[in-house]
């Protein structure tokens, strides 16, 4: 489903080259649930953004369903994201001036779903995450846990095959975090592929595979007793 081939990303920071990702090769199968762990600045978000077609590598290839993402234009990648990928952000990134239901309608609008259909589908998504009674509330009128659930509903709106979650539990209390991970497991059980960046060992443990990043390099944590995840395949 997702593949990285010898991907390197270097930045210029104060005229000094900084390596964000170093010769990363990785394969994530359809229906997999992968946790990306590692210290701050290790390149986890860089890798996630590259998988989402939002950050071009300095070298190497990133493939989604066999299509090389960065051989396409930015707009073509946007269309692929809209069709196949759902993002979940640590800070939820809800549009502040739109209500919960309108936020969920945004990806439907981008997917050219007729307006009449948008509201019904968005309401169904919010109902699924337990927010049927919060449709017309703006983000500031919701708790952080509710905001993250709106973000999950928005992510689900276009029925994505791949979910890329960047610290989805980072701002949540343990109870709400467990609830969000529960939703992600549920989505994974439906056959969606999930890649989740996390600092939270308990959240990471719930994934099928754990991949550690250290200074931009991928490490196989398959046999580690700290993160006893099942993953041993696909890690370079």
């Amino acid at each position: 489903m997702l593949r990285m081939e010898n991907v390197t990303k270097t930045y210029q920071l104060r005229r000094q080259p900084v390596t964000g990702l170093d010769q990363a090769t990785l394969e994530i199968d359809k229906g997999d649930f992968v946790s990306l762990v590692g210290p701050s600045g290790s390149g986890k978000s860089t890798l996630l953004l590259m998988l989402g077609g939002m950050l071009s590598p300095t070298s190497g290839r990133v493939l989604l369903d066999g299509h090389s993402l960065y051989e396409r234009s930015a707009n073509e990648r946007a269309r692929l994201r809209q069709r196949y990928i759902g993002f979940v952000f640590q800070t939820f990134n809800l549009v502040p001036y739109l209500t919960a239901i309108e936020n969920v309608q945004v990806p439907l609008y981008l997917g050219r779903v007729p307006r009449a259909e948008q509201r019904d589908r968005a309401a169904a998504m919010l109902e699924r995450v337990g927010l049927a009674n919060r449709l017309d509330h703006k983000p500031t009128e919701l708790s952080v846990g509710q905001q993250q659930r709106v973000a999950l509903a928005r992510m689900l709106a276009n029925d994505p095959a791949v979910i890329l979650a960047d610290e989805p539990t980072g701002n949540l209390d343990p109870e709400t975090a467990a609830q969000v991970i529960g939703f992600l497991e549920e989505f994974n059980a439906e056959g969606r592929t999930i890649v989740m960046v996390t600092h939270d060992p308990r959240a990471a443990q719930r994934a099928k595979r754990v991949i550690r990043l250290v200074e931009g390099r991928l490490k196989d944590d398959g046999g580690s007793d700290v993160l006893p995840a099942a993953a041993k395949r696909g890690v370079a």
């Binding site: 809209q82 993002f87 990134n93 945004v106 981008l110 276009n158």
Partner: protein, 405 residues
């Protein structure tokens, strides 16, 4: 959800910012509309005043000087009346009125006056209409435009201002103010000139010119009484000043090579200078408002882009293409431009109508045609000023929406 919802909700979310920008655009357009409306009406008022000074182009026989014409208004030199038809049937641009004249001396009670033959406009206009061509077959948009005054077209007294009258019968005569006073003539009186009986159809208002000492009769009657044949002493032309500057005189010269064509330079120059001044003033204000207003809008939209970076990145992550991001900001600019254009037109018109008469001393009326102009300027400036910030937004690095861990 639609583009409109996204734009409108954001505008409502930042009401103060929106109102500040809209207010700025409204103020700019208000200034432009007020200046343009007042200057339009003051230009027309000046044109009307200058028109009342009389003809601004004279067609004279070659040997006659302008001085001769003004000094005595009578000379023996003549040009063929046929020149009138030549002018009427030509494709010359900018001729408002034509008035051929033939002056012959008459004596009443041992006092010498001028009997001036004039050709009513209806006669040569009708001939041109039969031919389906000529200078009166198209509307003329220059010169005297009355503001809120009834038209004097059918009034015989309009001769003193318009230089022509519409109709005049063979036995009718118009009397200058001086002549009427000295001879005790009034409307409806009868008198005999060159052995022909005439009826006074109007006493002309005082003009302070040689016209006050004239009798005006039909040109063909005067030609017949004086036995001159089909000739005139001069043809007065009331031409559009802009067209005179653009070559009307040269056109008449080419058409009538055997006549002398002179302009009443001061009249023409005054109006040309004034029109140019108004135009320049309007252009300078337009330039200032476009620059200052444009910079203000660009700054506001630019700040809006910076403020909404995270939102833009989120939309991109959700699959928004660069075109949509641009449209979000350009639609906002379009909306502000529309509000600014309509509001500015309304406010500018109110300002012009209320303050115009006090400032410029002329009656000012609303000019509905300026709505489109106001909208074009405000929307054009808003869109042009927002283009670069919108383009920058569409090229933002969406990575900024993620926190590097």
């Amino acid at each position: 959800m639609s583009l409109g919802t996204l734009v409108w909700r954001e505008l409502l979310e930042r009401k103060a910012q929106m109102l500040t920008v809209a207010f700025g655009i409204i103020l700019g357009i208000t200034t432009l509309i007020a200046i343009r409306t007042i200057s339009f009406y003051s230009e027309k008022a000046v044109a009307r005043e200058l028109d009342s000074l009389g003809a601004n182009v004279l067609v004279l026989p070659k040997s006659v000087s302008l001085q001769d014409y003004y000094a005595a208004d009578m000379h023996d030199e003549v040009i063929p009346e046929e020149y009138v038809m030549r002018l009427t049937m030509s494709d010359l641009q900018g001729v408002d009125n034509l008035s051929p004249k033939l002056c012959v001396p008459v004596t009443i009670d041992e006092r010498r006056y001028s009997l001036t033959g004039i050709l009513p406009k209806s006669e040569f206009q009708a001939k041109a209409a039969w031919a389906g061509a000529g200078i009166f077959s198209r509307p003329i948009g220059c010169g005297a435009i009355d503001v809120g005054e009834p038209a004097l077209e059918d009034d015989k007294k309009s001769l003193v201002r318009k230089r022509v009258i519409k109709d005049l019968a063979a036995d009718e005569v118009l009397v200058g103010a001086d002549v009427a006073a000295r001879q005790g003539l009034k409307e409806g009186d009868s008198l005999t000139l060159l052995d022909k009986a005439f009826t006074v159809v109007a006493v002309l208002p005082e003009t302070g010119t040689v016209d006050d000492s004239r009798f005006f009769a039909h040109l063909h009657t005067v030609q017949e009484l004086a036995g001159t044949g089909e000739v005139v002493n001069c043809i007065e032309i009331v031409g559009c000043c802009k067209e005179i500057a653009a070559g009307l005189v040269e056109g008449v010269n080419t058409l009538l090579p055997d006549a002398k064509v002179v302009t009443v330079k001061q009249v023409v120059d005054t109006q040309i200078t004034l029109n140019r001044l108004m135009e320049r003033l309007s252009q300078i204000f337009l330039a200032i408002i476009v620059l200052v207003g444009g910079a203000g809008i660009a700054n506001a939209i630019s700040a809006n882009v910076t403020e909404r970076k995270r939102e833009i990145g989120t939309l991109m992550a959700l699959g928004a293409e660069s075109g949509l991001i641009q449209r979000i900001f350009l639609s906002k600019a379009l909306l502000l431009g529309l509000v600014g254009g309509v509001g500015g037109y309304a406010l500018g018109t109110i300002l012009a109508v209320t303050l115009g008469p006090k400032l410029a001393g002329v009656p000012v009326l609303p000019m509905p045609s300026l709505v489109l102009w106001a909208l074009a300027v405000s929307v054009g400036v808003a869109l042009a000023a927002s283009f670069i910030p919108a383009w920058r937004a569409s090229r933002l690095d969406p990575v900024a929406t993620f926190r590097e861990t």
